[in-house]
Amino acid sequence: MPGIYLHIPFCKQACHYCNFHFSTSLKQKDALLEAMLRELEWRREELKGEEVQTIYLGGGTPSLLDESELRRLFDTIYKWYPVAPDAEVTLEANPDDLTAAKLQVLRHTPVNRLSIGVQSFAEADLRLMNRAHNAVEARTCIEQALAAGFSNLTVDLIYGSPTTSDAQWETNVRTLTELGIPHLSCYCLTVEPKTALDFFVQKGKTPPVDEEQASRQFEMLMDIMEAEGYEHYEISNFARPGFYSRHNASYWQGVTYLGIGPSAHSFDGRQRKWNVANNAKYIKSLLSIAPPTEISILEGDLFEKETLTAAQRYNEYVMISLRTSWGCRLDVIRALGPRFEQLFLKGIRDFILQDAVQQEGEVFRLTRPGKLIADRIAMELFEV
């Protein structure tokens, strides 16, 4: 039940907080797409003919792709991979791209789920983040998407920004629940090193993220979502029943996925691979070889890989599973090795006592206070 992730590394303008891999120059778009098509063809063996259940176009900004580019991409995927008829096909889109015309184009592709990067409905927030869209576009694009027939929508919001009052935050969330959006991903504004935001904070131009405010807004979010009948199925993700992101859930359940495009990551259960986060290098290395050369000779140029040790698999499992509503299962840990079971049980005790973790038989889940310190709990349980 594998998935395919495609990274479209272009954006119109750089959001101040963003540390993803993207370029704001579209010059190489054609060559890059060509290289991605090649990569798709080249790596098809890696999914061993298994039926693809989810496809995810992320970025960057996949909504920058035009009709013919989307068609070539999907044609190539469907040519080389068996895709389940009911596969979840998600496209990340920025509000400024989602015109009525664009939505019509998208309706005629396999895309059946849109992930819209709204972030906020307030102008001040959008300016601080340097988003390409404005507050009006933030709202109209959703209405238009709904009108175009996209009912499986997810919207991204960001809280904790110095410009976001509690009231505004509540408005942002409620706007979406009232529009009936079935899935929300909400992130705390994070000042990543080497981003513009980091620079402004260092310079004192932008105040740092206030932790009190961030935790307060996270709690508000949990309150509203619970009252509105959404399930908090992963730290940053809320869904109406039946609307989980199947693609993202597969990341958290250790399912195989193939990552295509610069900086994309792949996982086959034991091994993680990641492509270079550099468009030029990506293109150059993929165009440098021709069949029947094995793509493995591009290791070091195109991609790097790492085979997880038992301890790393344990660490990842604990870190990811605790974030989800499915929780962390002792039988899974036991299967990785008895020493991990001991380590886990020893470490988790404190958090159960502190009411940060709840045990139900062999399953451990974060409580609400626990959700505020998920990283710390995982770190304490790690083996290093």
Partner: protein, 596 residues
């Protein structure tokens, strides 16, 4: 013996000793071009990383002179940093000559003078060299004038050289042969070999660097170390090249090494004399004065169980670094550890790093201090090397602290700011004296405690590098000293206590609190950091409780990134000491003193 030349290379820090040594090794073909790198003799990782020499290094060369004869040169490259002048004085004892380098763009600096005096004291023949003459900013005539003034030599006696281009090296080789006297000594007399250095090798034990003053040492000889009185067999003797080369014997005047299987630091003392059990020498050579540590700090294992391992490592390190001294101590906060004496802050830093690299010992270092003398009301006199040992105010009469005379050489335009710095450091100007029109020597009397910490760096920055500095102790003077305690959530962390002058206590306390606020990770509860003198709180900071992690998104590529980040955090947590409920990272102890 008449074809042996033993000499050391001395200079102020960075004046190019190790680089010029490279050129001598190259000209004499001691090292092939393939093995040659910059500052070849700086073979310790730390030396290479920092680009400075830490330990003296002896090496033998063969030189074919124009007169057709082959000469044996034993050269010792020495460190220039003020902390390591002890290395210089030991090297000097094994030599008849010294190459005194002066950087042509810098001129005479403080350690030029102090190292020169060490050499003159031992009657070494000085070959003055103006080095780095390839530099655009070289002031060959001016620097030559300075040298003539300083040592009273003739202009023609000064060799103009560049370690970078190799210019002047043939002249220098010539001068070494013609001007440095061959070693004297009596080959027929009983053996007297001076141990001037030692290193420890985990397979072979102690390898002692020696200079044969009289007599002969053969492999297999039974020898006695005169100071310890212990007897051994000279398992291996040889000469020092890039690696050691075994020989059957070392003759009078030779510099070389001996291995006797010693594995314990107490059994070897640098400065000791080796003689033979049969036909021993009636007297030892005058050794070295014991090194006087200037700075003391507690060194504690990160994990209490590693105390014995730490002792072992310190002992081994001492075999490589005779200037390190230590004795056990205990701390309420940190358990058992050692109070160690260092030559200065650079030395402290290097010991700490060598413990980590060479012995895999992670340690916590307490706030360093100098050695004080406390007088009690009952007339007792106590040496205080640890803040915890300062007697209670109820019994304490007064305290004395060590003073030094600081010699600063600089350009006239920096006098003002240097005086301000020295005054801030409680110093008094004793003398001001123009060496030349634009070089001035300032002598200050200043408490040692004030210069061991950030004095040197500040001096360098206010003078843009145009000030050099040397110092010598001038005794103890009465002082107003208090103990500043640091409390975390009202609990005293004795490892962070410091002895400071009363006038400095408050600003110092404020700085430490502030720094700790940055260094301590936030925890799930509030942390109060306080600085106190006795019961009186003079500064405080609070670290608010951590309510929320950044639980950032976690999809495909984020997973391994996040895992690695958390693994690193967990790794860092292993390097924490717990005080009550509060976790203090090892790094905090190291960084707390980097106050500016």
């Amino acid at each position: 013996m008449k074809n042996i030349r033993n000499f050391c290379v001395i200079a102020h820090i960075d004046h190019g000793k190790s680089t010029l040594s490279d050129r001598l090794l190259e000209y004499t073909k001691t090292i092939s071009a393939r093995d040659m790198k910059e500052q070849t003799l700086d073979d310790m990782d730390l030396e290479r990383e920092r680009g400075i020499t830490i330990k003296s290094h002896a090496i033998q060369m063969k030189y074919v002179h124009a007169d057709g004869q082959v000469y044996t040169f034993n050269m010792i490259d020495t460190p220039g940093h003020v902390d390591f002048s002890y290395e210089v004085s030991r090297s000097i004892a094994a030599c008849e000559g010294a190459l005194l380098l002066v950087d042509a763009s810098q001129g005479i600096q403080a350690q030029t003078i102090s190292n020169l005096y060490l050499a003159i004291e031992h009657d070494l023949e000085i070959i003055p060299i103006v080095n780095k003459i390839d530099m655009e900013s070289a002031m060959v005539d001016e620097v030559s004038d300075q040298i003539i003034d300083l040592i009273g030599c003739k202009r023609e006696e000064i060799i103009l050289a560049s370690g970078r281009t190799g210019k002047g090296v043939p002249d220098l080789l010539d001068a070494i042969v013609n001007r440095i006297p061959a070693p004297k000594g009596d080959p027929e007399a009983p053996l007297q070999a001076l141990i001037f250095d030692s290193i420890f090798n985990s397979f072979r034990g102690v390898i002692a660097s020696i200079r044969i003053m009289n007599g002969t040492l053969r492999q297999g000889d039974r020898v006695r170390f005169m100071n310890t009185g212990k007897e051994y067999s000279a398992d291996e003797v040889g000469i020092l090249q890039l690696s050691n080369v075994p020989k059957t014997e070392l003759l009078t005047g030779d510099v070389g090494y001996v291995i006797t299987g010693i594995k314990i630091s107490k059994e070897i003392k640098v400065g000791d004399t080796i003689t033979k059990v049969e036909n021993p020498s009636p007297e030892a050579i005058k050794g070295f004065e014991d090194v006087k540590p200037m700075v003391f700090a507690g060194i504690f294992p990160l994990d209490n169980d590693d105390f014995e391992d730490l002792r072992d490592s310190l002992e081994k390190l001492q075999l490589n670094d005779a200037s390190l001294v230590f004795e056990p101590e205990s701390s309420a906060a940190l358990g058992f550890g050692f109070r160690c004496g260092f030559l200065g802050m650079l030395h402290l830093e290097i010991v700490q790093e060598r413990l980590a690299r060479e012995f895999n010992q992670d340690v916590i270092t307490t706030i360093p201090n100098v050695s004080y003398i406390a007088y009690t009301k009952r007339g007792e006199q106590l040496t205080v090397r640890n803040p915890a040992d300062l007697p209670d105010p109820t019994v304490l009469d007064y305290v004395e602290e060590p003073y030094i005379q600081a010699q600063v050489i600089t350009k006239p335009e920096y006098i003002g700011s240097i005086m301000t710095l020295c005054m801030e450091k409680r110093g008094l100007l004793a003398k001001q004296h123009y060496l030349t029109e634009n070089r001035v020597e300032l002598l200050f009397e200043i408490p040692l405690a004030e210069i061991v910490f950030d004095f040197y760096d500040r001096l360098k920055s206010i003078s843009r590098g145009y000030a050099s500095f040397d110092y010598s102790p001038i005794g103890y003077r009465q002082s107003e000293l208090v103990r500043l305690d640091i409390k975390l959530n009202a609990e005293n962390v004795d490892a962070l206590s410091a002895l400071v002058h009363r006038d400095k206590a408050e600003p110092f306390g404020r700085k430490i609190c502030k720094k700790l606020k940055d260094l301590l990770p936030r925890q799930q509860f509030v942390i109060a950091i306080q600085a106190a003198i006795g019961a009186k709180i003079i500064a405080r900071e609070t670290i608010s409780a951590m309510r929320k992690d950044v639980t950032a998104k976690c999809y495909g590529g984020d997973i391994s990134r996040k895992r690695k980040l958390l693994e690193k955090q967990k790794e860092g947590k292993k390097r924490m000491r717990q005080f009550g409920k509060i976790e203090v990272p090892q790094k905090a102890f190291l960084d707390v003193l980097k106050l500016d």
